[in-house]
Structures are given as C-alpha cells and as structure tokens.
C-alpha cells in the first residue's frame, strides 16, 4: 500500500508536504483566488452602501462627486492600469527567463503604485483643506459642505454621506494598495536574487493576481465616485 514519488523532490522551492511542484503551484494559485473571493465580498459591503445611498440621494451625491478632482482621478486610473500592464509583463518576463526585464517591470509597477498613492495623498490633503473630511475625524476642522456647489434638491447632510463613503472606499483601496506594494517589494527583493525563473514563477503570478484585483476595484471606483454628476454640470 502506498508508493513514493521518485522525481520532483529535488526542486529547492518544493515544500515537504506537497508531492510535486505542479501540486504546489496549483494549490498556491487556488489559494490566492479563494483569498480574492474574500476581498470581493469585503468591498461588496461598501459598494452596497454606496448603491443604496446614491439611489436615495442622487442630487447630493452628484454635487459632492462634481467637487472631486476629475483630472487627478483620471490620471490615477491611467497610472493604475499601466501598473497592471507592467505587472503582467513582469510575470511574462519571469516565464520566459528574461531576468532584467522582470526586475524592471516589477520596479516600474512599484513606482506606479507609489505614484497612485502620492496623487491620492494630494487629493486627501485637498479635502482636508476644504473641510470635507466627514464628521469630527479632524476635530479642528468639522465637516462643512459650504464650499460644494449644491445641485437643486441636494441636502448638505447627504453630501457628508458621500464623502464618508468616498473616504471609506478609497481609503480601504489605498490600504490594499499599500499591502500590494509591500508584497511586490518582497517579490522584487527575491527577483533581484534570482529566485524566480521559468521553472519557478508562481509567486510572481500570484502577486500579480492580487495587484490586478486592486486595479479592478479602482476601475469601478473611478466612474462611481468621480463621474456621477459631471453630465449635470453642462
């Protein structure tokens, strides 16, 4: 009863409880996908709140949305999608064994991710200056919607609701970006040390999955938060 697996024990990265690299790779990829399911449900709760209150207070939400910096939001969208491209290129380079391109692609992804966060920080600072941080998060600057042009029918209290949701959703997204930057930094560290190549590239692939997911969340956040009421302005 039972049998031994002769081959495949030699790979340095094979963990002892797996039979072979194929099983390890399959498990690792599946694990990341299952984790992404939890992330979808996590953000889902906030999308629910957004959808509910947007449908209840369309004018207030449109007014608040128009006050966001569309230019910065659009630039960030381009930056993030570009970083997804460079991440995909990092996986590709690893698969075909081009180490230099792999490292450059990973570094570019990191740079673009940091750029996104930098632009986000500028946006957040603008909100702070404009007294648009909700409630009494900043006790010295309580929320004040007077700087926001209100469309007919918009209630300033609901404007505050929009900004609460804006900060909750983009804030959570930013937290995930920071984690993603941490993960890719670690991958870059090991990539420089030559750990990944055509025969072992799953960690790069799996980190890419996480990064692409964070990109997808933003693909939805951008139109829902920034483009709500632009058509009403003209």
């Amino acid at each position: 009863m039972g049998h031994e697996h002769p081959a495949e024990h030699g790979h340095a990265a094979l963990q002892h409880h797996f039979e072979n690299m194929e099983q390890q790779r399959e498990a690792s990829t599946l694990g990341m996908w299952v984790f992404l399911v939890t992330e979808i449900m996590f953000f889902g709760g906030m999308f629910l709140a957004y959808t509910l209150y947007r449908s209840k207070y369309p004018e207030a939400f449109a007014s608040a949305s128009n006050h966001l910096d569309l230019k910065l939001g659009a630039i960030n969208t381009v930056v993030l999608i570009l970083s997804s491209f460079t991440m995909a290129m990092a996986v590709y380079s690893t698969q075909i064994g081009k180490r230099r391109n792999q490292i450059i692609s990973l570094a570019l992804t990191l740079l673009l991710g940091a750029t996104f966060l930098g632009i986000k920080a500028v946006e957040y600072h603008q909100k702070y200056e404009d007294h648009l941080i909700p409630g009494r998060v900043v006790p010295s600057r309580p929320f004040d919607a007077s700087g926001v042009h209100l469309l007919p029918g918009a209630n300033p209290h609901n404007v505050e609701m929009f900004y609460w949701i804006y900060f909750a959703m983009t804030g959570m997204h930013a937290v995930h970006m920071i984690i993603g930057i941490g993960i890719i930094s670690i991958i870059l560290f090991w990539a420089i040390r030559g750990k990944y190549g055509p025969e072992y590239h799953n960690p790069v692939e799996v980190s890419g999955l996480y990064w692409h997911f964070v990109d997808i969340v933003w693909i939805f956040l951008f139109p829902l938060l920034y483009l709500l009421g632009r058509h009403l302005e003209h």
Partner: protein, 98 residues
Amino acid sequence: MSEHIVPVRVYLMIFLALMVGTALTIWAGLQDFPGPLNVVIALTIAVIKATLVVLYFMHVRYSSRLIWVIFASALFWMGILFALTFSDYWTRGWFQVH
C-alpha cells in the same frame, strides 16, 4: 493547469483597450444622456474593462474551470447581498398603513 504564456502583444492590446475604455468612460460621463443611461454606460464600460483584466491579465481565459467557477461564485454572492437587501429597500414604500 496550463503553463500558458500569454504573448506580449495580447497584453499590449488589452492595455490599449483599457486606455480606450477609460477615455470613453470620461467622455460619456460628461455627456448628458437621457434617464439612467449615464449609469448604465459607465457600469457597462467598467464591467468590460474588469472582464479584460480578469480574462487576460489574470489569465482566467487560460485557467481551469475551477478558477472560473470560483470567480463567478464571488460575483454571484455579491449579487445575493445586493438583491436581497434591495428586496427590502425597494419594497418598503409598497405597504401603506391607513
């Protein structure tokens, strides 16, 4: 599981499609379409962009059916959360107390 290597030109094409989609989203957002069309258009474009990322950047197009089922299930479950919650909010006004 396939060890499929997606060619660079596919990645490039998807990236360009995503850029076009982004530009389209912004343009459409500035136009005043009748009724709920603004939302519909914005969400449609977003869904298409997300689908491209999932299929090609995340390799689902080349992955096992299990991965596809897992991803679809997550979307379905989010759908459950939305549908049944809105079954409350959208029918609240139906019941009139006289």
